[in-house]
């Protein structure tokens, strides 16, 4: 897995929802290597914060040499990113992680909340019969772009759009079917999808999140519990940054 660490330039940034930002980074070597489901490590310019922020790749433009990220302002680091303007620079490392394995089977692509962005590039690249299911709290973002690619079902917590409830409610309400689930979102959603996939005999590739320090498999900060022994340390832990963030749901032990 090749990765690059370089100074990237912001070529575009805009706010697309409350607290949610859409940034395009010029990072040609990274863009050349990137695959859907991988992420990048974004470093702060503020020197009191040394650890990189892991952010999923939402779009890959190999011609322009850019990567797109869509992120929520969660704390100080993402706040700093949100204040950056066209022409500003930051250190970036990536692409990191394994990414999704694109299967030749009917797909359900599922994103929940801030887990939605990484599914967009997957939806674009996955050349099979597919449905996208997106779970929001209330207001939606990126929905139009998914709709430009394929059929989209929506769930909102308050029922203001689409199915009321979770992505599973939307799947059931709209009778969405497929052989393979690709998903990113909050842990309870992923856990529910793992159960759902198991019950329906489907494969589920889920993208996990954990606090990271190195981002490249060196610190053992970001493990998830797994059923099998990990090749790296020979225990039931697997590094999310290096061997994930995408896992076969069957392999993961949920807390």
């Amino acid at each position: 897995m090749e990765m690059i660490k370089e100074t990237a330039k912001v070529v575009r940034q805009q706010q697309i929802d409350e607290g949610i930002f859409d940034m395009e980074l010029s990072f040609p070597k990274g863009a050349a290597l990137a695959k859907p489901g991988q992420f990048i490590a974004m470093y702060c310019n503020d020197k009191s914060k040394l650890l990189p922020r892991p952010i999923s790749i939402c779009g890959i433009n190999k011609e322009e040499g850019t990567l797109r990220v869509v992120y929520r302002v969660a704390g100080e680091g993402t706040k700093e990113f949100s204040e950056m303007k066209e022409g500003d620079t930051l250190e970036v490392m990536g692409p990191l992680g394994n990414g999704f394995a694109l299967k030749e089977e009917k797909a359900i692509i599922i994103g929940g909340g801030i887990g939605i962005p990484p599914m967009l590039e997957l939806a674009k690249q996955l050349n099979v019969e597919k449905t996208v299911v997106l779970g929001y709290r209330t207001s939606t973002f990126l929905k139009d772009e998914f709709e430009a690619v394929c059929d989209v079902k929506v769930a909102t917590e308050d029922g203001s759009q689409g199915a009321k409830g979770t992505v599973i409610d939307a799947i059931e309400k709209y009778g969405v079917e497929g052989k393979v689930i690709y998903a990113c979102g909050p842990m309870p959603m992923l856990k529910a999808l793992a159960v759902y996939a198991e019950e329906h005999g489907m494969e589920a590739q889920i993208s996990l999140e954990e606090r990271m320090a190195c981002g490249i498999g060196a610190c053992l900060g970001c493990i998830c519990k797994t059923k099998g022994k990990d090749h790296h340390t020979n225990v039931n832990n697997t590094r999310i940054c290096k061997d994930g963030p995408v896992f076969d749901a069957k392999e993961v032990v949920f807390a």
């Binding site: 090749e2 250190e91 954990e210 190195c214 610190c219 493990i223 340390t233 225990v235």
Partner: protein, 300 residues
């Protein structure tokens, strides 16, 4: 310009090594760093058997540093000898193995298992604040430190380097205990115990509640302890704690370290070790220093 240093009878091409646990087994950084260009690669703590480590979250950011409570997850000495040592040798790296254990016999078992391996030094981690047994329990009590040092030294084929904890009232007392126990060198400092609370969720950020603080925030404590220890005993020192730049490394050596380890800096910049080395060379050029050994402990 000479960068070669000798520590505990072993010669290293330069003073820069990696801080255990921050550089994996070396392989993770190969895309950024030529492992053979380092003085040595110091590997993640390894025990006699695989360890699972602590639950997550295991890491947290702090102002100018970080906390970790990885809890010494490691593959155990068998897989380590089969996979990691041959790989490092193939890449041309000198190797310092960091050894951990829950009991004296755990440590001794690892050390014995390494007897015929192409390893330069054994760094004995008696200072990990993130495990219940072993680790820091040995590192905060001079008598216990003396005993375990003696026990390990009796069995070790390579020189042993005791890695000290900064979480003590008097670091020189610990250094003297390790010296009396017969070790060949000292490593300092390991992490300083700290805590971070997520005030929004009213929870500890780390599953382990406390973790070990590292990074530039702790450098003044590391420099102070290296200085104190270098004046309290005769052992050579591998100095670490917050080294981010070549100038930081020079400072640590002036305080009394013969070698320096780069830790948390790797997470901030995967090429940090190489940039530290380049910075040291630039400093030597600027001040016309022919031999890096000249500056070791040049401050009194």
């Amino acid at each position: 310009m000479n960068l070669e240093v000798t520590l505990a009878g072993k010669t290293f091409k330069n003073p820069v090594t990696t801080a255990s646990g921050t550089f994996g087994s070396g392989a993770e950084y190969e895309q950024f760093v030529d492992l053979a260009a380092l003085g040595a690669v110091t590997t993640k703590g390894v025990a006699n058997v695989p360890w699972e480590g602590n639950p997550t979250p295991r890491v947290a950011e702090t102002y100018g540093g970080m906390l970790n409570a990885v809890g010494l997850q490691n593959p155990g000495i068998d897989l380590f000898c089969k996979r990691d040592i041959p790989h490092l040798k193939e890449k041309g790296a000198s190797i310092i193995v960091n050894v951990c254990g829950r009991s004296t016999s755990d440590y001794v078992e690892v050390v014995e298992r390494l007897a015929d391996e192409p390893v330069d030094l054994l760094e004995i981690n008696v200072s990990c604040p993130n495990v219940k047994e072993g680790g820091i329990a040995f590192g905060q009590n001079p008598d216990a430190l003396y005993e375990i040092t003696k026990a390990i030294k009796a069995k070790a084929k390579q020189p042993i380097v005791m890695k000290l904890s900064p979480n003590v009232t008097d670091i020189t007392e610990m250094a003297k205990a390790a010296e009396a126990g017969g070790c060949d060198a000292l490593s300092l400092i390991n992490t300083i115990t700290g805590m971070k609370i997520d005030i929004h969720r009213r929870k500890f950020v780390l599953a382990n509640k406390t973790g070990g603080m590292s990074g530039p925030a702790i450098k003044p404590v590391a420099v102070r302890m290296v200085y104190q220890v270098s004046h309290a005993c005769k052992l050579p020192i591998i100095g670490m704690g917050g080294i981010l730049t070549g100038e930081d490394a020079i400072e640590m050596m002036m305080a009394g370290a013969t070698m320096v380890s780069v830790g948390t800096a790797n997470f901030h910049n995967p090429r940090a070790t190489m940039e530290v080395l380049d910075g040291m060379k630039a400093y030597m050029e600027r001040y016309h220093i022919e031999d890096i050994n000249e500056i070791i402990g040049c401050i009194d």
